[in-house]
Amino acid sequence: MAISKIWVLAEAGDSGPTPVTLELLTEARSVASTVEAVAWGSDTASLAAALGEYGATTVHDVGDLGGALPGVPVASAMAELIKGGNTPDAILIPATYDGRDIAGRLSAKLDKPVLTNVTGLVAGDTLSSQHPLFGGSLTVTAKFTGEGPGIFVIRAKSFVAESGGGAAASVVPAAVPETGASNAARIVERHVEERSGPKLDEAAVVVSGGRGLGEASNYALIEELAKLLHGAAGASRAIVDAGWVPYSHQVGQTGKTVKPTVYVACGISGATQHLVGMKGSKNIIAINKDQEAPIFSVADLGIVGDVHKVLPALIEALKAKG
C-alpha cells in the first residue's frame, strides 16, 4: 500500500500557521501525493495561503469552537470525515498541548493506536516513525500493524520547513457531530503571560538552568543571561518539578525540544530526560561543577566550575561588551 494521502493538523500561531505545522506539511509533501490540513478557529481562511504554500491542497475547517477546548470537537470532526469515507493513510499531529488532546481523542474514537514522540518518518510500503530512546542514544523505528489511518504525534523541529510554492488551499467546512458530555469543558478567560524575547522553541540561543543553581531565586541569573544573548530561558525537569519555574520552560523528553544555534546548560547534570530535548542543538555549552556529569558528553565547550561564580562573571563580561 503506497501512501497517497496525509492529513496534517494545522495550528494557528500569532501570525499564520505555527512553525511545527509548516514542518509537518513539508514532510508530508515529500511522502504523499496528496496533503490536506485540518484547522479550527474563527479565521481559518487566513491560514489557507500559507498552508497551500507548504503543500496542503485542502483545509478541512472545523470552524470556531465557541470556547470549547479543541480536543473533542476537532477529533470528532476528523472522525466524522473518516467515517464518511475520506480516509487518509496517515495523520500527522504536532506534539503540542492541543495536538496531544486531539490525538488521544481521535485514537479512542477510531479505535486506532497512536505513535508519539516521533522525530522522523520513513516512507516505504507503509509509513514508519522514528523515536529517540534513552536520551537519544538509540533510535527506535516503529510502524502500525493494522489498517490506517496511522496517527503520529510529532515533536517540533523534527523536520525543516520549506515552501513548496503551492497555491492557496481550498477551505472546506468540516462539521462537528453531536459530542455529548465529553465536550463540556469551556475556556472562560485566556491569560497571556508577558514574555520578553523569543519563544523557547524558536530562539537562536537558549540558556537553561537546573538543580545546580541551588535555589529558585538564582534562576534570575538564567533569565538575565538569556536576555543578554537575545535568547530564551529554559529549565531542566528537576527545577520544574520543584516548582521553581512553570512547566512551559521545561526542555526535555517531557517538555520541549529545542535546536538553537547555541544551548547553554547551567547547573544541569544531563539526565537522559534532558538530553533528548536539547542534544540536537548546533553548539552546546555546559557549566557544571561535577566533571563526571553526563552533560559534558554532549558539550562542545564544557566549563567544570561553580555556576554561582561563572554565571555572574559571564553576565558582567557581556554587559561590559555592551
Binding site: 480536543g71 477529533a75 498541548y97 496531544r100 488532546d101 490525538a103 488521544g104 481523542r105 485514537s107 479512542a108 479505535d111 486506532k112 493506536p113 505513535l115 508519539t116 537519544g136 542514544s137 538509540l138 533510535t139 527506535v140 523505528t141 516503529a142 502500525f144 500493524t145 504525534v153 465529553s182 463540556a184 469543558a185 469551556r186 475556556i187 472562560v188 485566556r190 491569560h191 497571556v192 540561543v205 544573548l229 525537569r237 520544574v240 518539578d241 512553570p246 512547566y247 517531557t254 544555534t261 530526560q273 542534544k279 552546546i284 557549566i287 566533571q291 559534558f296 558528553s297 562542545d300 564544557g302 566549563i303 567544570v304 566550575g305 561553580d306 561564580k309 562573571a313 559571564l314 563580561a317
Partner: protein
Amino acid sequence: MNVVVCVKQIPDPAAPSALDPGTKTLVRTGKLIMDDSDNYGVEMALQLAGGEGDKVTLVSMAPGGETSGLRTGLAMGAADAILVSDDALAGSDALGTAKVLAAAIKRANPDLIVMATESTDGYTGTLPVQVAELLGLPSVTFAKSIAVDGSSVKVERQTEAGYDEVTCPLPAVVTVTAGVVEPRYPSFKGIMAAKSKPVDQLTVADLGLDASQVGQAGSGQEITEVTEAEARSAGEIVVDEGDGAQRVVAFLEQLKVI
C-alpha cells in the same frame, strides 16, 4: 467526593534502562516505584478530597501483582487502590492500557479523575485523554491548578502563551503538570497504615474486557528496528580557574553570537 488518581508503577528511572531484545519493549523487572510524576496528582487529589466523606482511590495497571508503588500513594493518604494485573496485559500500547484503566475507574464511580500529563518512562502523553474518551467524559489537560466548585471544576490550563481559565462539569478527567503542588512525604504512621489498606486486585476477565483488545495481542504497533543514534563528537572540557566566563565569551564570539 470520590477522586481517582491513576498511578503508574515504573522501574526506578535512576537505574539503567534496557530493551528486551526479543519483544523490543522496555524491560520491567525488579522492584517498581510510583512514578515521580504521580506524586503531584496524588497530592492534588488529597487536597481536593480532604473533607468528611471524601475519598481518594488509586488505580494502576502493573505486572505480577506489583503494589510497592501503590503503597507509596496509600502512605501519602489515599484510602484504597485498584490494581489490574494480568499476564495478558504484557506489551499493551497506550490505547490498550487506556481501555483497562477506563474499565477499572468505572468501578470506583469517581467525581474526578486525576492523572499526570505523562509518565516518566513511556511518556506518550495521550493516555489520559484516551481514558476520558472511552468513559465519555470531558477532560482538561496540563492543569497548573484545580479548584472544585460544587459540581464543576475550575482549572488553570497551561498554554503556549500563558494559561487559560477553564471550567468543566464533573465528572471529568484532569491532568496535572509537575511542580504544581508540593507533594507530602509519607509519615511513619502513613507508611504503617498503608500496609493494611485494601488493594482490589483484578484481571482482564474481571473487568469484562476481551483479551484480544489488550496486551501485545491488542497492540496495533510494532517496533521494527533499534539502531544506535549518531553520537556527538567530544568537545573541549576545561576546569574553571577563574577564566571560565572568558572561555564562554570567546566561544560565543567565535560563533558570532555576540
